[in-house]
Symmetry: D4
């Protein structure tokens, strides 16, 4: 066992003391490590971003407060900020042509930050994204009006708070896999997203898989992994 | 205060030792007491039923096991049993003409016992009931096909387990009030009906009020109270 | 299916990018879309309000902070603010004569914001509303003193925090349907309204249906739907 | 510390291997150890009962299945069984004259086993008990009719399932302390007694303290401790 | 029924619009209404306090922020403030001689605000109170050292956060009834007091009844009700 | 709107009274309706199976007890039974060549029924499936030994009970999307699958989406939808 | 990475199809794999036991029903059964002399099965075990009487249901590390062990670590790992 | 019993009114009382620290805000502050040589405060500590690279938020006991640490015991107790 471990040890990562930046991830997963900002200091985030950027890859930092962005931009002037998605992006040297078709559908206006995080992540990973927003089931004809665009997707991300019924309705009609994202939009017996989460986990429509509450990043990432299947130049 | 209480004491009820049968309820609420069977012995149920039946009113006993029905029928030969709804009925001397229009909609085949309990209760309380079953959102065109019948209701009862999305979809389209009944049909993260309950409480469609999990009786009763508004000869 | 969807697409709504304003709702439900403010920016709320107001309908925005009201008033000078209910109202061109009889009963002084949201919503939807406040069961004679007014209602809204027992006590006496609103007033094992919610869902009195914690709007809306049954000029 | 512990060691108890019977408890608490049957084998229960009975004290075994009673009676022929309360009693040599006034009030017929466990325990501990059963808030005049008897109690035990509102209503009227017992009678969002428990813990009426779900024994015991205050010959 | 209600209506209370001050409570329960401040505005609190004070009774307002006290003192200069217990007191014209013996025991320094609220309430209601603080089970000899004082109580209030084991240890030794108060002192899997609450509800020691998390007032009130049993001039 | 609904009504389904069999689903989703057995009577299941089989499609009934299978086989002699997966299969007239590559990985022996349900569903929907069982993290070298086979999958299903850590470990190494299935295998603080569910929803590895507890069917279905992307003759 | 994995693959395990028996575990952890029976068929358990026994190691199967034991004994006649602990043991060829000092303390008679599982596991792993049973805090002098034996332990296992206070009391006095095991013994607001679990996780005494509800095996195993520190011939 | 208690009373502690400082703890447990700051005022913390420091022992105050540190330093100039761990340390007169080997492993950068609290506590109690940070399972080769250092520990502390899988992976490989610390690092269905807590309690790897969420202190303390077993001069 000792010898085997020795080899695994040789995989590339960089030790910053407070963090071990996993440079091997890009090889292993096809995409580099992404920085989840909460609980990290601005100094730590800047340092990790700098190391990742130095490899020429796309860098993505999610749930970044505006102050964090300012700190990053000071060190890395090319950094961009998507205020709705609360995300920092540093574009790498190589650019992937957007391909495939990922639909991102959201139920209400308050779900926008999560939906945008999903869309942005998927785009950064090479997917072509179609946004269809504010089509919740209280006015279901709005969903039907966008059905042409929706029905062409290889994979759909459905973002909804409140009772989260949109995932089931879309799931009952669409032929492609669906990644459902419950949001914490709601109050009272919503319990900070639990209600939407349970709705989506119990969907009577088959083909619906779920990520964590407000996890737009995870949904966009998974959708991008699905979208690149069979796309030339996109597989790892 | 003593004198006031003295008067309230004079209201009619019958003391059986283990139970105090509330004969005043029919006057107060417009419908007599209903027997909820779980936790009561067959002997107790028979005795309460006999006292209620003696007033000539309709008697309803819910969640009654077949054995309980047998015990009741031995004493009260006119008792009927609705096996799907698990309910015992003893029809009273006066018969109310069915009136109004109550729609009872259910999502799946496994929701039938709850839906039937609601329909039966509403009928016994003088409502005319329209049943539309197995129209869950996984095949939403089945719901649309029955829309004509649904849209004419004064009040709708929507019964659904799993993710319970049907209440929101119907709520987004219907103009009348909706009483939603979450059922315990589901598994895993359904938590015995919690998932459907939370869905319905968080409905993004307005005009949806909710009763307890599997409470077909309560939904049918409330719908009947709503249905009789403005109906001649039906108000208390 | 394609053709059917095409027709549904033709229903009127307005796409603002971040929102799709559902102008068809007034036709479908009898009342226009209502703006739930949390999670929306002031800019978005102002824009949606402007579009809804342009149709001449009543506009209601709930859970609106005073800052939001200021932003709305700047654009729409006729906007009013009900500080207790935290609601913005823009009165439409057509005015419905208040009719029917909706009782709004609350248990304690701290429940006032929710009770007022219910009363205001019901009034805006054409109901005549009777307010009976601070009649919780710790001093039950206060409830009895208002019973004359309560007993004449077509439908009752009962608002209560703490243990929420008021809904059951009223439910045991009243002949009309009851919409119960649990509030988050309480502490400790109240779990932000869970205690009142469970109390009301488990009411031993029949005819009680429940809306989400603190959902005064939903209760007022449902009560108004019930209240208008059989009222001339009020049905959709 | 060693010496202090040495003295505590000298307190009387009997080691049966699987159990250490605490004979000192009668001195310390004024009442001997009580046997809670679930999780103990019949053989173990019989043995503990025999040791306790040998001191001449009253013996009480709660939640005892009929089979357990049969096993006990075989060894201890004087043992009695209260089938409703599911309790075994072996009366001791000394008999306390019933004194004071403990009211035991219950909401519904299905709450009887818990109410009887409370009443029986209180009686065995020397209290005079007044039973008032089936006076739930759905027919509140039944409670008022018994108010004379209730209002004379030194302490009240209030037993209720479903939404458990009875504790608050009684608490709003009574001048004495109240021990509230939530029961597991209910279904769905009752969550096996959680709903009644939360109701009682959040009572808006002061002077209400709560014991575990279905814990009739604990309520009866606490009520008896309160009842004996100031009663000659009853204090420890 | 109408006539009976008419009489109950005649009971004294004062309608302030936002509140109905229950002047009858002092007659009914032996103590006047107490003001629970959260959710009420300073203006409302001042007004209610003024009405209660005008009857010459003791006035107690719990969970009062310092700002609220300042507002009250401006109107009612005799008002006192207990900063630890966060309570406002306005002493009435009649003074009850402290009597009986109520022990208030707390586990840790952070539990002091709750323990003081209990002690203060009990004193205001005529009880003589013995405080024993910071005797948690991590250093159990500190409890034993105070046992002489504790063992003489007619009733004990035990206040504890963290795992709340103190209630069981005291309950295993004391001969009098115990009112246990779980506090929200803790973190992580303490879930804001749930851990202490469950501990106390499941106490293996008999004679322990529980009030809501952090409800020092309720415990002091109940203890005072128990303490006054058999005390001359203290019963209602 | 009426005309639009009229068209949707024309979509094919068959009304059996207790069920509306959705024949349109095969067109819409690419796979026919699947029968979830719990809550349905054997008679209902047989009837639905017969109608689905009559179209020549594959029929799948999940969570089927052996008795149900016997009832089905009596009517439909070609029906097969997979006892581990508790599933009934009736093979249709058309046979899809297995294609793509779906890995199904499970953590422990007790997870087999869920893993087999996933594998079976995926196979029936045209996927080629690779099973790798009992490779939980307590002996992680067993997982590494199968890595060659695992790393070639287009999509992975990871099935795990207990703490469900396998999904994260696989997710940290694999380049393809992962559908994680928490199982109810565990006890105590596992809360019937809640522990594994939360683990998987909170995975620190990106690219993991989750289905309901024990929902092998849903995972297999979703994996099959992903697997068929870009496969000729497999898309709908 | 491929080469590293290749080496890990070479670690010894045996593939039975439904299980991969991890023979390397004894080397890695110092003790062989243990069979957790629930969810495995008798056939599977017998087969795994046979493979493990063939290496000459001690075999332990926990939570084994008597039927499972019978099936095992048929194949492996040397198998023993501890009925209280519900465990099957097959003693290996090498015998470790019991050493060190592990105290196993339990609160009540109903906790015996869990306590015995812990004691048995610890003994099988080479520990000398001291059992002290039925010393719950309701009669705390029973604990003090055994303190001499308890205070000499290198590590303590404390097993308790109900409110689980014993762990804190022991933790406040003992100088060695404590492994606390909450049991599911209790009812109502015990929530199948949740109450004891939370108590132990929130212990105010330092040095207490917790295992899953009813997990006597895990506690005994961890205690044995701690006990063998510094013992000659016991470390791996 | 009275005499026994008298002796326990003689154990040394100091009564500050708001706190009873337990000077006997150092004798009993081998380490003095530690100050948990939340819920205590700065004045109280300073006073307790001063009393403890006066005995010449090491003083540790956890979860201390910077303001609290400033207040302490004003009175006790030798006080140090570890800002990452949020801990105040006052080094005593006697210094223990670091001995043994405690590994502290953490999963992510945001888990640092908890990991440092554990490491610091263990060091203060005489342990030699090895830190291995940011080796979460999303990049598992980072863990393997540090395995040499990890595998030499007598006891391991594993700190992880999100899904907390690291504890199981380490537990599957290590031969020593593991104290697992779930952290509140996560969001959504993490429920403030519940997800990591459940993961660790349900670990399929044996030898893992768990402390409260974010309880770095408790883990470090328990690990130090384990580490000192058999170390000369370190046992109490």
């Amino acid at each position: 066992m000792e010898q085997a471990l020795e080899r695994l040890r040789a995989l590339p990562y960089e030790d910053l003391g407070f963090a071990k930046v996993d440079h091997h991830r890009a090889l292993r997963k096809g995409f580099p490590e992404v920085i989840f900002c909460p609980g990290k200091t601005a100094v730590q985030i800047v340092e990790i971003a700098r190391r990742l950027a130095s490899t020429g890859a796309n860098v993505l930092a999610t749930r970044a407060a505006p102050e964090v962005y300012k700190a990053v931009r000071r060190e890395l002037p090319g950094a961009e900020y998507n205020a709705v998605a609360r995300a920092i992006i540093i574009r790498g040297t190589e650019k992937l042509e957007p391909a495939g078709n990922i639909g991102v559908i959201s139920a209400g206006t308050a779900d926008l930050p999560v939906a945008e995080e999903a869309a942005l992540t998927a785009e950064l990973m090479g997917g072509r994204v179609n946004r269809v927003y504010d089509v919740g089931v209280a006015g279901i004809h709005r969903l039907f009006d966008s059905w042409d665009r929706i029905s062409k997707a290889r994979v759909l991300v459905v973002v909804a708070g409140m009772e989260g019924a949109l995932a089931s309705v879309v799931g009952g009609m669409a032929a492609c896999p669906i990644i459902a994202v419950p949001t914490s939009v709601g109050y009272g017996a919503h319990f900070q997203g639990l209600a939407s989460l349970l709705t989506m986990l119990n969907s009577c429509a088959a083909g619906v898989a779920v990520v964590n509450i407000d996890n737009g990043f995870g949904a966009g990432y998974t959708a991008a992994l699905i979208n690149r299947i069979g796309l030339e130049g996109h597989s790892p």
